[in-house]
Symmetry: C2
Subunit: 210 residues, 2 copies
């Protein structure tokens, strides 16, 4: 059965931003701080090394009930039996990816515009919307859409939204108020002095107002 | 059913070495000159563009009965319904790839030593052995194994061998005499003034002595 992930605090990994710490340690800490999803993003690893890393992360996360998604690479997701894939607009079309991963895996898609969000078929489980704010993490990122851009995407789809791009504990609450059910972060956790405390602070910021 | 490719002249593509010509034109000419297999190798294309290119090449080759193999990327092979994959030692392990592509697709593996050749399971259909000679095509290539290295690999396996690395019409006959059933080339076809004539000259060089 396809898992229902807790999308509140969603970690996207970047080994280069982990301040020299082991990625598995950063992930373990982030999850202890309540990150509910981990997306493994590797743009320069050879396929075999990527698969080996994915298997190691999966072994870490599975007992904790935290799904592992693989960025872009359906082959790596299949080989590591990850819980799903996250696709960009330049990656495999979602319908094709769904056919390859099957009905029981998660499929996320990055969108930048309401049009892209509206064009999503039933193959997609959630959307990553952004970049919300300017970010130095992703050199090829598009122009920030802002909270108003996120709100327009919210109107264009019924899918759960995760806001990404320049999000931190200071601005995460606004991202949720604009219509996201959570925030995806890279450096706010990977480069934090304490990934655990950073994830916990994000979780506090995105919790529903009581 | 798994196709039985004609391995005599095996084209590995490199768009950067095509002298500005369209890759599809180069492939068409190479096949007209009797290349019997095409391996699409792309190390820098986004996944979607790689899939689109693979689909275009597949449409070109399928009516000609020439199999299309995808270098490294099992996801692209599955998405484009290519005829198989060719894996390096840093790519997905062959047994995993076979499980993902199924029994009806071709699976090739690059080997550098008799040990790697002997370690191949029944999942592999043929081996690419090399680099035979020094080559400028692949910057990260290992040390040349020479014709004697190829002959040692020949003794270590019953699989069909294709020699690769610095092979051209002038030295291809020696590669076959050392135990290969064909030669895989990149620049000898991609960068030839006439890819068709280059492929034809290679075909002549590797034909069994009559």
């Amino acid at each position: 059965m396809r898992p229902s992930p807790r999308l509140g605090v969603y970690l996207v990994t970047d080994r280069g931003l982990c301040l020299g710490r082991d990625l598995l340690d950063v992930i373990r800490e982030a999850v202890a701080g309540s990150a509910g999803v981990v997306q493994l993003r590797e743009k320069n690893l050879a396929t075999r090394a990527f698969i080996e890393l994915a298997v190691a992360v999966k072994e870490l996360l599975a007992p904790l009930g935290v799904p592992l998604l693989i960025n872009d690479r359906v082959d790596v997701a299949l080989a590591s039996d990850a819980d799903g894939v996250h696709l960009g607009q330049d990656d495999m079309p979602a319908a094709l990816a769904r056919r390859l991963i099957g009905a029981d895996k998660l499929l996320g898609l990055s969108v930048h515009t309401p049009q892209e969000a509206a064009a999503c078929g039933a193959d997609v489980d959630y959307l990553g919307a952004g970049p919300i704010f300017a970010t130095a993490t992703k050199p090829d990122a598009k122009a920030p859409i802002g909270l108003d851009g996120l709100a327009r995407i919210r109107l264009a789809t019924d899918l759960p939204l995760v806001g990404i791009g320049g999000v931190d504990a200071g601005n995460a609450a606004g991202v949720v108020r604009a219509g996201a059910c959570g925030v995806a972060v890279v450096s706010a956790i990977c480069s934090a002095a304490s990934p655990r405390e950073a994830a916990a602070a994000l979780a506090l910021a995105v919790r529903p107002a009581g």
